[in-house]
């Protein structure tokens, strides 16, 4: 510290700056100090921009990965489970109601199988090739073909019994037996088709939780930005103080403007981060949980209906048919739509970078330019 510097600061009435400069001002000539400050401001500006951009991109990519891959894969698995449960209900309802004699397993069954096929195709596209998940998916596809084969066998046996008119009791019993085999292939908790789909859903659910817990989406990661933005602000304020002491100028407008820009963009970044974090939390903890709950409710409904239809078979005859078959209600995909829209909306908000990806480099260039302008004039005075 120099005595002159302390006196200038005292005269300007800025006690705090004076105290700080008394403690911190280094030895050396003023031009060299100004040059060092310029280098430090420019360097920390570049780093601040880089860190803020990395944070924004990291968070956006994580959220987009959730939105465009993991949540889609998880929901495709949930839907596949639900519609296959419903396919089981539908085919039992068709046989129990007597519709099967004309329409076989029925339109609901066909629609469910088509939807399940689309879900599995979407899962395959999202999971890519190779790896354990891809292998599991192949197994699931094989099991689906097997399930359809057993339903087809049940249908053929049932219809041949109905057509022949003889030994119908035995044929009916065999037809229902094949349908039970199909249901077992579907619902066996040990390696059945639905159990395998649940494994795929669980893999994606774990990935979702990991992504939610990822540091990119936490507001605490702003500390990393603070780690470079605060030194930048410090250098800018220090430069201002230095100029005030050395050149007796109260305000250096370019430096003030640069400081304001840094403060402004920091607030902007924080606001976008907090808003994205809130939206991501709501998407994961509320919307996704609600959507999962709706799918599970729909699935349980189909399971219960199928169970009731299976249980109604007595001896070799279908038992009191029609009543249970008519009462059975299928999975309603529309019931999932409100929760789905909420999830999509929250994820869209969480993925929105709020214009930061364009603003950050512009602000960095402006900050660097203003700092250069503010300090270069004083350096030029020395040269002159």
């Amino acid at each position: 510290m120099t005595t002159t510097g302390a006196a200038v600061a005292a005269r300007a009435g800025n006690r705090r700056a004076a105290t700080a400069s008394t403690r911190d001002l280094p030895a050396g000539s003023t031009p060299s100090r100004l040059r060092r400050m310029l280098v430090l401001v420019l360097a920390t500006t570049v780093m601040s921009c880089a860190v803020a951009t990395a944070l924004t991109l990291g968070r956006r990519d994580t959220v987009m990965s959730v939105r465009d891959r993991t949540s889609l894969a998880f929901l495709a698995a949930l839907e596949a489970h639900a519609v296959l449960s419903d396919a089981d209900r539908a085919v039992w309802a068709s046989l129990r109601s007597g519709e099967a004699q004309l329409v076989g397993p029925g339109q609901d069954y066909q629609d469910d199988i088509t939807t399940a096929g689309q879900d599995l195709a979407q899962l395959a596209a999202l999971e890519g090739t190779g790896g354990v998940t891809s292998r599991q998916l192949q197994t699931v596809n094989g099991q689906l073909v097997n399930y359809q084969g057993l339903v087809g066998q049940a249908d053929a046996t049932y219809r041949s019994g109905a057509a022949s008119g003889s030994q119908t009791a035995g044929r009916n019993a065999l037809g229902y037996a094949y349908l039970r085999y199909a249901s077992k292939a579907l619902r066996d908790p040990q390696g059945g088709l639905l159990a395998r789909i649940d494994e795929l859903a669980a893999v994606n659910r774990r990935t979702l939780s990991d992504q939610r817990a990822a540091s990119w989406t936490s507001p605490w990661i702003l500390l990393a930005y603070a780690g470079v933005a605060l030194p930048l602000l410090g250098y800018l304020v220090y430069s201002q103080a230095l100029l005030r002491r050395r050149f007796k100028r109260t305000v250096n407008p370019p430096l003030v403007l640069a400081t304001a820009l840094v403060v402004g963009v920091s607030i902007w970044l924080a606001a976008v981060s907090f808003r994205a974090d809130q939206a991501f939390t709501r998407a994961h903890d509320v919307a996704l949980a609600r959507l999962t709950g709706v799918w599970h409710t729909e699935t349980r409904g189909a399971d219960a209906a199928a169970r009731e239809l299976r249980a109604g078979i007595r001896g070799d005859s279908p038992g009191p048919r029609n009543a249970a078959a008519k009462a059975s209600r299928g999975v309603e995909v529309a019931a999932t739509q409100p929760a789905r829209r909420e999830l999509d909306s929250q994820l869209a908000t969480a993925a929105d970078s709020g214009g930061l990806l364009i603003a950050l480099p512009l602000v960095a260039v402006a900050t660097a330019g203003l700092a250069f302008l503010g300090l270069k004039r004083r350096l030029d005075e020395y040269r002159a």
């Binding site: 094989g142 030994q167 077992k184 040990q190 390696g191 030194p231």
Partner: protein, 448 residues
């Protein structure tokens, strides 16, 4: 803050950035990729645990992880994956017929260079070694290893539930089929169906009925007719085969002989069919089933009125060999085994398949209480089996003069599937036997 200190701070910051970037690059690039091998098989539940116990030592010793996918529909899944051209590295084959078919098609990888053949020759009987081989492209090679085996010619009973007189008749060394038929008629007269039969096994449903027909044919017509039938040269409509079906019909088609009748037989899972034997009073008394059924018995919960817990080998369940029906079938036994083949040649798959033939690997599964697995390796000592029933099964398997592999498992896959379906059709309508046998012959003429 001094400029000098600022410079130091800047350098430190840059250093941290470089270090962080470095760590990021390392974590993104990863170290050497860990190896894994995928195995597709039909083992679920306790059997899956047994296989996992078998591979645990391998994983610890090599660091290679074994990704096992178990489903009762493994055959159908494998067929689908083969069609897609993307099978797993290793898969359990449905039967030796499938082994021969895949070897001939060139989809299976020969294991001659993988297995220690000199060691195998000393540890495995000739018949088992033959089962592991097939004619592929370029001659006869090893194409599979036997992971575990089972004795199929067995009739199971619950010693505590069977009336003493019936028990004495059943366990008599001179038991014949006629004696067994008399015994079941006596038991049926008590109002309880003597036989427990369950046909359900999802896409493979019906195989427990094919086991009946096969065992009857082997013990009625003898191994020579059996071999001709398996090879496709003895028609299904021939007298020995038809007689075997009709004999099976005296059990499955007779009123009051099978618990629950037609519907129960068709819809009961093979693994649960025997559980009523342990009820008080018993729901049925006898079950014809392979030795692997003990694994299912061991999972059943006994009623609390009888002390609870799980059935224990020897105390709660035991077996007698399937009795001879005619002199030609005396001393023969039907066996089965799980064959594991390699569809994609990777170093990890090679190591695993070689490991599975070692006595240490084989013992890991059979040692598990209630595992029901039997090893065909001679180097696995009888003392490794966890209970007297397993030891007796292994001894029985080793001592048999005429061993024949499960017929449907040895037939081409299409024939085996048709056989399964025909059994279900026969049970639902025994009067259609002639039609069914003619249909089976049509399939035989196409697939052999």
């Amino acid at each position: 803050m001094s400029v000098g200190r600022s410079g130091t701070a800047l350098r430190a910051l840059l250093l941290v950035s470089v270090v962080v970037s470095g760590i990021g690059l390392i974590s993104c690039g990863g170290g050497p990729a860990s190896q894994s091998v995928t195995v597709l098989g039909p083992w679920t539940g306790e059997e899956e645990s047994g296989f996992r116990a078998m591979t645990r030592g391998f994983e610890q010793a090599t660091g290679i992880s074994v990704d096992y996918i178990g489903t009762r529909d493994a055959d159908a899944v494998l067929a689908s994956e083969l069609k897609n051209g993307n099978p797993p590295e290793l898969a359990v084959l449905a039967n030796p017929g499938e082994l021969r078919q895949q070897a001939a098609a060139g989809t299976l990888v020969p294991l001659d260079g993988v297995l220690d053949q000199a060691r195998m020759t000393t540890e495995y009987a000739r018949g088992w070694l033959d089962l592991m081989q097939a004619n592929g492209r370029g001659g006869r090679h090893y194409y599979a290893v036997i992971v575990k085996a089972a004795l199929k010619s067995a009739i199971w009973y619950a010693p505590k539930r069977l009336p003493p007189a019936a028990r004495a008749a059943l366990t008599s060394p001179s038991l014949t089929w006629s004696g067994l038929s008399r015994l079941t008629a006596t038991l049926a007269a008590t109002g309880t169906a003597p036989w427990c039969i369950g046909m359900e096994d999802t896409s493979n449903s019906g195989w427990s009925g094919t086991d009946w027909v096969e065992d009857i044919l082997l013990h009625q017509a003898g191994p020579q007719f059996y071999d001709r039938w398996v090879a496709g040269s003895l028609p299904w409509t021939s007298t020995p085969v038809r007689r075997a079906w009709q004999t099976f019909g005296t059990v499955a088609g007779a009123r009051g002989r099978v618990r629950g009748g037609l519907r129960s037989m068709l819809s009961t899972n093979f693994g649960r069919a025997g559980q009523p034997m342990f009820d008080t009073p018993p729901g049925c008394f006898l079950e014809h089933q392979g030795s692997f059924i003990t694994g299912f018995y061991a999972q059943h919960k006994l009623p609390s009125t009888t002390g609870g817990g799980h059935p224990r080998p020897g105390r709660d369940f035991a077996f007698v060999p399937f009795p001879p029906i005619a002199a030609a079938g005396q001393g023969s036994k039907e066996v089965a085994g799980d064959l594991l083949g390699m569809f994609r040649d990777t170093p990890a798959a090679r190591k695993l398949i070689a490991y599975l033939t070692t006595p240490a690997a084989q013992a890991a599964w059979i040692k598990r209480p209630g595992s029901s697995a039997i090893s065909v390796s001679r180097r696995v000592p009888p003392g490794d089996y966890p209970d007297p029933v397993s030891r007796r099964l292994a001894k029985n398997l080793a001592a048999t003069r005429e061993v024949r592999f499960d017929a449907s498992d040895s037939m081409p896959r299409v024939m085996a599937t048709a056989f399964n379906r025909a059994v279900l059709e026969y049970i639902s309508d025994p009067a259609r036997l002639d039609v069914l046998l003619r249909q089976l012959d049509r399939v035989r003429r196409v697939v052999y």
